[in-house]
Amino acid sequence: MSGFSALFLKEVLRFWKVAVQTVGAPVLTALLYLLIFSHALKNRISVYPDLEIDYLTFLVPGLAMMSLLQNSFANTSSSVAQSKMMGSIVFILLTPLSHHALFAAYISAACLRGLLVGSGVIIAAMLFVSVPISNIFYILFFGTCGGVILGSLGLIAGIWADKFDQVAAFQNFVILPMTFLSGVFYSVESLPPLWQMISHANPFFYLIDGFRAGFFGRSDVPIEISICVVSLVTLVLSLGCLLLIRSGYKLRG
């Protein structure tokens, strides 16, 4: 077992041992969103009228991506913050694991949890509604990049936080608004121009728009733009995260 695979396996087992809480509960929450929002808004919001997609179907990829993002963030932020505050992070810091291996293991586990939850939401939703798949590459690309981006943000939050309150604040005041305002519940095309512009400044918008394009073959902005923006954000955050780990900030005194 290499250092990377040992840490990856440990991180996967860490969430898998409490899978009801870490995978089952987010899937249930997403299904409740699906049920409530589709019931409340199905006659008020029109989406892609030319494609004849009903609101319930439209919601599924957005909710799956939102759950994927939130759980990728939760995995790294909770793991790093908890092990830092309980002191058990020394068992990792004392080892010859390189900062690349450490980053890759944490992010891979975060991606896996995010993808499991996202897949769970889609599979469970398919029991109630038929969701088309237009381009599996887009689904996997945006799903994986979403996991890497939010896993990196979670790692940064976990390293930065000295208290669990700070992780919760990061989640509630940064991650949650950005996901909710990224077009999970609506098409950004339906917004006034100012709000469309603001939405376009939110990188999560491109994740959800590109992910949704993988299902419906239709996006609010050209898919090439989403691929470029998401690739750039993934690269910048990954590099930032690697540099942070290598610097030893709040990890090595």
Partner: protein, 310 residues
């Protein structure tokens, strides 16, 4: 052959607090070395610096010849096992899982035989599949020791490993560590139980206010500036006109009739004192020497070292 540990002019500050000040020493391979000092002396900061948990402001640290903060850091970390002072554990896993993951971090694929040996040596075999949360404090402490040993490091650093461990477990732990030392592992120990350091360590360094104030072999340390006290009982003097012994010997104190405590500046002078007693006409009935312990030496060195304000 390079020493197991080389610390050269290491300094480390946390803000205005100078935790370690220009400390230099080395520990040869195979030695059982004790690092002593009161709370806040800088021992843990120094150990954390050796382990790579802390980055030094100046100076260098080498483990088995590998610099802990340069490109050699991975080789240095493979060569060192650290038992941290705090009782930390991962609550999600069993003892065996914890040790398997720890082996994996060092790139060791199949380590079951050695893990079983460590579990047996530390009396943890029957707890191998127990969750870490269910263990007592002493058992968690032993798992910390086991985690430090999974990759068979040539240098083992134990930062107060017996704090909160009962007497039986402590003996068991020391016999296991002593066995590792006999097999060639270098041990660096910090402890507040000075009798442990006295019986186990062949050499001792003492720190105070971030400085290394003393480093000496345990034997020499116990004899250093040692004022030996002789308790002697004399038979009734043969000559009636003899004065009491405390008048003739300025360093003697009469404890009770015929029994005296005599302070001797140096153990090598004991024979001279006894000769003098005989020459004075006394016949020695019984004789005991009272030796200083490491604790006495430690306290006198700490008292003699200057305090620092910052």
């Amino acid at each position: 052959m390079r020493p197991a540990l080389e610390i050269d002019s290491v300094s480390k500050s946390f803000g205005a607090v100078k935790a370690v000040r220009n400390v230099s020493f080395s520990v040869p391979r195979g030695e059982f070395f004790g690092l002593l000092g009161p709370n806040g002396a800088g021992k843990t900061t120094l150990i954390n610096s050796v382990a790579g948990l802390c980055r030094v402001d100046s100076g260098s640290i080498k483990v088995m010849g590998y610099d802990v903060s340069s490109r050699d850091y991975q080789s240095a970390r493979r060569a060192i096992g650290v038992v941290p002072q705090e009782l930390v554990f991962d609550p999600f896993f069993s003892v065996r899982e914890t040790l398997e993951f720890q082996s994996g971090y060092f790139g060791i694929k199949k380590n079951d035989v050695w893990i079983d040996e460590i579990l047996s040596g530390l009396n943890l075999t029957d707890k191998a599949n127990a969750n870490m949360r269910s263990l007592s404090g002493g058992m968690k402490r032993r798992v910390l020791v086991a985690q430090a040993l999974v990759h068979r490091p040539p240098l083992i650093i134990l930062d107060e490993p017996t704090a909160g461990v009962d007497v039986d477990l402590r003996k068991n732990l020391w016999s296991f560590i002593q066995k590792l030392n006999d097999e060639g592992h270098t041990i660096v120990l910090t402890t507040h139980y000075l009798e442990e350091a006295e019986s186990l360590c062949s050499r001792i360094g003492m720190m105070k206010n971030g400085e290394l104030v003393m480093i000496e072999s345990t034997d020499l340390l116990l004899q250093r500036d040692k004022e030996c006290v002789i308790r002697l009982r004399v038979k009734q003097p043969a000559k009636e006109n003899l004065s009491p012994l405390e008048v003739l010997l300025p360093n003697a104190v009469c404890v009770e009739l015929g029994e005296y405590l005599v302070s001797v500046p140096n153990p090598s002078e004991v024979e001279d004192v006894l000769r003098l007693v005989r020459e004075l006409g006394y016949e020695i009935d019984t004789l005991e020497t009272e030796n200083e312990s490491l604790e006495d030496v430690f306290l006198s060195i700490m008292k003699a070292s200057p305090e620092r304000s910052e």
